[in-house]
Amino acid sequence: MNVLTLYLLLLKATLTSFSGGTTLPAVRQDFVVRRHLITDAQLSTAVAISRMGPGPNGAFVICIGQYIAGTPGAAAGYLAMVTPAWLAILFLRLLHGRTDRPHWRGAIQGLTAAASGLMLANAWPIAQTAITGWFPVLLAAVSLAAFLSRKVETLYVLGSAGMASMIYFLLHVRG
């Protein structure tokens, strides 16, 4: 895929995302469902990598770019991640004193409610790839509880799940 097209498709995903993490449905639609350029397994690996590393949660678009077009693709992913942020400078001038206007807030709230529904819809196909037995079900359930508690860092949850899976592999597959 042409790097410019990749950038524009990733930009479309980041431009329609609000409140973090909601880029996922658009990325999945364009790259997994429509174009078959990556798999659900790669998508969830990308999310895991971006959450284990430093920086913003939306950084998984860098991994998606890398999977599709190598280093130039990763650069396209990075640019797609930062481009919308530059709009904030323009908005700062335009929206000074207007951010509390009801229709703006209503639009954002409506969009956020729909984004959460879309995220849930996207969890199902990813779960079908990642959940392949009772042990991954247990890991997903414990992780969900840990994330909902908001008391444990994402990095620790993902790292612990990885470690637990390695121990399971050692005991049940190799042993």
Partner: protein, 176 residues
């Protein structure tokens, strides 16, 4: 007058060294720039946060852009985004390359399988936490349900669903 070195080091520090996503990074920037260094008055935080939430994309990067622009002008805001994201992006890129090269190794594959199972929990919790921020909005539940149904059945593209939901939200607020 804020020096360029101080300016970039604050954004680089918050954007690249803080783990846990956008909210902890925003809290760290607020503490360092507004409370400790007093580069901006405390009342600016509401405006900057509001602008960041209304800007599409990653909230923390929009917050960095707006805060940087408020402190030293538009060009500084644009450069602050790069300072606040490029080092972390390079780390993420290197991690992706590493996992690509080593994914065939059974130990790395086992670790990734565990992390991927945890990602399912992460997505479910993110969906709930996102919905929780708007659950008192009068049409939040119908919009959530409609988006879930349309997303599962692939009836409309996610972008169309989000734009329709934004229009419905604006109309609902206009009616109130």
């Amino acid at each position: 007058m804020v020096s360029w070195a101080q300016f970039f080091s604050e954004f680089a520090r918050a954007g690249n060294l803080t783990l846990g996503g956008g909210q902890p990074m925003i809290a760290e920037l607020q503490r360092r720039i507004i409370t400790e260094r007093r580069w901006l008055p405390a009342e600016d935080f509401g405006l900057l946060y509001g602008v960041a939430r209304l800007t599409p994309g990653t909230t923390i990067l929009a917050f960095i852009a707006a805060t940087g622009a408020r402190i030293k002008g538009p060009m500084a805001g644009a450069l602050a985004v790069v300072a606040g994201s490029l080092p972390a992006a390079v780390v993420i890129w290197l991690m992706t390359v590493f996992f690509n090269v080593w994914s065939a190794n059974p130990w790395v594959a086992a670790a990734l399988a565990g992390a991927m199972a945890a990602v399912v929990g992460l997505i479910l919790s993110s969906a709930w936490q996102l919905f929780d921020t708007v659950r008192r909005f009068p049409i939040a539940i119908p919009l959530f349900g409609a988006a879930l149904a349309l997303g599962v059945t692939d009836t409309l593209s996610p972008v169309t669903i989000l734009l329709l939901a934004a229009a419905a939200g604006a109309l609902q607020s206009a009616k109130q």
